[in-house]
């Protein structure tokens, strides 16, 4: 009987291996990428136990479930396989070990079951997940009983054990189906993805958020079919365990816009499988029906394919889903790949976006406004313009927001503060083109490159110590994305500069007696650049009371202004900034402090009554003490 059990474990392992090869064969149809396998595989334990665990433990019950379920299942099965050695097979102690491991797995199965009882939470999927605890429990329970039987009589072969054997076989078959065609493949796909991750810099507390440059001479640009994705990305889609954390974090989903990151990843999985799928989580809100047709080389986007185009343009590229994903999936990279295919190969962008892109190509500015008008808001302050070949300490990059008179007030406050601190700085004036952020997020890499090349040449023709900007989107592009194209400078957000000036004593602040202030983290400053402390230090020094919204810091909610969402004619049940302002109101904030022209415009667009919107520079200027 012991030998039968051992054969069962080996058979299960062999079948799992076959199914894994099937998965790998499918992934290999993706675009080849160079993977540092040895370093990657060596890093897997650490990436799993530290980085993945760090995300999983935000929901402690999920972490507690995995220890007995995964540990017991793997440990018990391996222990059974090792019992192929006669010495172990004959040892009561070994069978005791097997029994303990399977008991743990059985406990894990009970914990798995509890996640969906009495009702399946909206963010979790049903479907095959509903009988997963049954299969796991049958295998673990059968294994436990058999191990106990062997413990009682190591040489035994009692016919009484036939029933638990059948139970274990049934469970093993169930687990195999769960692995080959169901969610349990996340164990294998996740391991491969952790080893071959597209952004290894994210592990160990690092940050890697810059979009990768696209080779504009390649035959196919971006992703139109599953085979256009890097094979590692295909593996990452299979790694999704449908835990729904992305969907809970997604601002577009919350506003009823036609995007659910979880459904998107599952649709991409279905596209690789070719046909309609068995997804049973919450759907993409309000999305028009699609034909659910796919295939490795078939188009993914379109009413006649797998994903409706509306889904693609609802994304604000805020990376909240990426931040929450325990499998470290790169949703935004997938969306931008798909957008690149639509924009560059098919010209299929929204009319509003098409107009902005045309103006960026023709006038180097998404609003089609004269570049000389960018500094109009600063006209009264007489900021020097840095000519080609000129030199200064700080180059102030104004960004697209400068055309907006409201944001001009922020820039005026910043300039006044820099003057008070006695800094030497200048602007580019007419020579400042758009940095291309919007084009890049919309997938139009060609237009981005056009603008980036011009901006880099302009900046490289001038000498300065650092660049300061009040626009986190420009900050991200200049700091993180231009280096790949030949632009290397020190780039600072204005809150970091002001924080430096306050802590060095160059600016002295007295906290004013203000009603509660809540800081709204811009996605491109917080999640994209990890800067969440300096703005808070400034507010603490400038304002009386500061409150925190439930979602703040790296887990803050987007204002809805990123990724070209506002110009992409996105339909929804609510507006994202309305939701965000309601969150600020819920914690009693009377002022929402911002640090981004996009957030300013989006949050000020919320109808009254709502908290007042002030940029940190304005609040700091009000609190500054002039000697």
């Amino acid at each position: 009987m012991g030998l039968v059990l051992v054969c069962l474990a080996w058979g299960l392992a062999a079948c799992v291996l076959l199914a894994a090869l099937g998965l790998a064969r499918r992934w290999r149809q993706g675009r080849p990428v160079r993977v540092a396998w040895i370093a990657g595989l060596a890093a897997v334990p650490r990436r799993y136990l530290v980085d993945v665990h760090h995300v999983v433990e935000r929901r402690p019950e999920a972490a507690r479930m995995h220890v007995p379920a995964a540990g017991g299942l793997l440990g018990g099965s391996v222990a059974l396989m090792l019992a192929a050695l006669p010495a172990l097979r004959g040892s009561r102690a070994w069978w005791a070990v097997v029994a303990v491991l399977f008991a743990a797995a059985l406990w894990g199965a009970i914990l798995v079951r509890r996640r969906r009882r009495p009702a399946v939470p909206s963010f979790l999927s049903a479907g095959m997940f509903l009988w997963l605890p049954g299969a796991l429990g049958a295998y673990a329970g059968g294994g436990l009983l058999l191990a106990l039987g062997m413990l009682a009589a190591p040489d035994g072969g009692s016919p009484v054990l036939l029933a638990p054997l059948l139970l274990a076989i049934g469970g093993a078959v169930g687990l195999l189906v769960q692995f080959a065609r169901g969610p349990m493949r996340h164990a294998f796909a996740g391991t491969v993805w952790l080893a071959a991750h597209a952004r290894p810099g994210r592990f160990g507390g690092g940050r890697d958020t810059a979009l990768r440059p696209l080779d504009l001479d390649a035959a196919r640009l971006g992703a139109m079919a599953p085979s256009d994705f890097a094979w590692t990305a295909l593996a990452s889609f299979d790694a999704c365990i449908q835990c729904g954390r992305c969907e809970q974090a997604c601002p577009a989903f919350a506003a009823g816009q036609r995007l659910n990151p979880k459904a998107l990843i599952q649709d991409l999985v279905a596209a690789t499988r070719g046909s309609g799928h068995s997804y049973s989580g919450s759907p993409t809100p309000n999305a028009p029906p699609v034909a659910c047709r796919g295939g490795m080389d078939a188009p993914i986007i379109g009413a006649g394919a797998m994903i409706h185009p509306d889904t693609l343009w609802a994304c604000t590229t805020c990376r909240a889903c990426v931040e929450e994903c325990p499998m470290m999936i790169e949703h935004v990279d997938a969306i931008v790949d798909l957008r690149r295919g639509q924009a560059l190969m098919l010209g299929q962008v929204r009319p509003g976006a098409a107009q902005a892109l045309r103006r960026m190509r023709d006038s180097a500015e998404p609003g089609g406004r004269p570049l000389a008008a960018r500094a109009d808001g600063l006209a009264a302050l007489d900021v020097p313009v840095l000519p080609g070949g000129g030199e200064t300490d700080i180059l102030l990059w104004l960004g697209e927001g400068a055309f907006d008179l409201r944001y001009g007030r922020t820039l005026q406050a910043l300039v006044r503060l820099m003057r008070l601190a006695g800094l030497r700085f200048a602007i580019l004036g007419e020579a400042e083109p758009d940095c291309g952020d919007l084009a890049r997020r919309l997938g139009d890499e060609a237009t981005f490159r056009l603008l980036a090349d011009e901006a880099i040449a302009t900046l490289n023709a001038r000498r300065f110590r650092r660049i300061v900007t009040a626009d986190p989107h420009a900050l991200h592009v200049l700091r993180n994305e231009y280096p790949a194209l030949g632009g290397h400078w020190t780039v600072q957000h204005h809150t970091a500069l002001l924080d430096e000036l306050v802590s060095s004593g160059a600016l002295r602040l007295t906290p004013r007696d203000l009603p509660p202030v809540a800081y709204h983290d811009p996605c491109y400053l917080g999640r994209y650049n990890g800067e969440v402390e300096a703005p808070r230090r400034l507010l603490d020094a400038a304002c009386g009371t500061r409150v925190e919204m439930a979602r703040h810091g790296l887990r803050a909610m987007c204002c809805g202004g990123g990724g070209g969402n506002p110009i992409s004619d996105v339909d929804g049940a609510a507006r994202i900034p309305d939701l965000r302002m309601a969150q600020a109101g819920a914690v009693g904030a009377a002022i929402v402090a911002v640090g981004c022209p996009g957030c300013t415009a989006m949050l000020e667009g919320v109808p009254a009554p709502r908290p007042e919107v002030r940029d940190i520079a304005e609040l700091v200027l009000d609190a500054v003490v002039t000697a």
Partner: protein, 257 residues
Amino acid sequence: MMATALRAVVLLSAGIDPVSGRPAPVGTEIRAIGLARALGARAIGLHAGLPVPVLREYAGYGLADIVCLDGAGADPVTALARAILSGGLFAEGPVDLVLAGRRASGGADSGLLPYAVAERLGWPIVADVAAAQRATPAGPSPELEIEQARPRGARRTARVAGPCVLSVHEVAACVPDFVFAQARAAVLRTMPAGIDGSPPLAGGAEERAYRRRPRLIAAAAQASGGRVLVDPAPQDAARAIIDHLRALGVLPPPAGS
């Protein structure tokens, strides 16, 4: 019987963006490409001059084939007319339709050019085209039903038989999608213009400062003074606006009338 596709030539200029002064495709010429596509025409771009990079962008808007007339600078009208009449542009037959933008953008282009080319060709010209469709979609005749854009949003219909010249208005809604992959793959062919000598107009033109001229308002747009409604009910106000737009021809007449 299937209608044969019209053979259209879109006149392209090396435009500049009026805001930034950078090389850019001209909006009305982009719409001319869109109009050719809306008519289901086979279109070739024709540029009097050497191939310049900005021409590739027109290709991005859906013009796969662009012909540049080398040496046309001396007399672009003659060069263009000769190329159009030469029969060398389309293998299938003569040109049915010439499409152009209605006014200059500020680059080396001219709003007068479509008229001059039409005159040289001896073809009729319809200016300020907002939309067009084939009068008999199934027939072989290249007769077109044209909608002309008039001031204040009014529209006027016209009918013209090809071959003809159309100058496209900037309100035409037919802006094609810009596809980078098409721009990248564009073929810019260069043909000799067969013109030599200096421009005939050189020195003959007089330059004058811009002066605002009294507006010539077409009869169609001379709507009466309108009605003043003080604090009307929303329904009455909406009704009055719709009636006014119908009177201008912006909206179609009510269903069933």
